[in-house]
Amino acid sequence: MFRDIRLIGAAFDPNSAVDALSAATPGAGGVATFTGKVRVTGGVEALELSHYEPLTLPGMEQLALQAEKRFDLLGLVIIHRVGRMNRGEPIVCVSAAAHHRRAAIDAVDFCMDHLKSAAWFWKRELRAGDWHWIEPRADDYADLARWDAK
């Protein structure tokens, strides 16, 4: 099981993490990836993510273990940016390698739903010079709840 779970304080390149995952899982039939980024358009000038050291990374590692238990994976990447980031920069990259595409896609879906509304991050956006705290959307909670029902 290849695992790359990281908090990162500076801009990162999702491709290199995904390529490393792919290279490390020669038996995989496919790799599913989601990269979330700061929108270039739409009025957000910058974004800041804060975290709490004793909880955030352990929580991500716990999430990875849950995903590995739930899906038939060969490798998993969860990289989350923290601190201040600019337009167009990646915020989060989740990538899963598996024998079959369903496990890979579902694992990415599962991890993203949990990162969005059940991981220890706090997000604020700079709009027109003012910072605004962001809370999860109702959709995010609904997305998360799907996994309890299954």
Binding site: G36, Y52, P58, A119, F121, W122, K123, P136
Partner: protein, 87 residues
């Protein structure tokens, strides 16, 4: 006899700082002490935010299932965690 209190997310903005040190006279900081001391030593808004049902407490990096059961001692770290929003 100091207990460190950490404010996360918008609670840091409400508190006007990232952390405080509290020294309860009894040596033990329970839920009522925390609400009271935040009101007096920081501001009423952060005490109100603490009482918001969506605010969660962690003691030394472990989330408390029931925040009203808090019992912190010298050297402990108490974190005030508002609703998260990641990704």
């Amino acid at each position: 006899m100091a207990i460190k209190v950490v404010y996360l997310g918008k609670l840091a903005e409400i508190a006007g700082r990232d952390e405080s040190e509290l020294v309860p006279s009894s040596g033990v900081l329970d839920w009522a002490d925390l609400a009271e001391m935040l009101r007096i030593h920081v501001n009423p808004q952060i005490s109100d935010a603490l009482c918001d049902e969506r605010t969660v407490l962690a003691l030394n990096g472990a989330v408390l299932p029931d925040k009203h059961s808090l019992e912190a001692r010298h050297g402990d770290e108490v974190a005030l965690l508002p609703p998260v929003s990641g990704g």
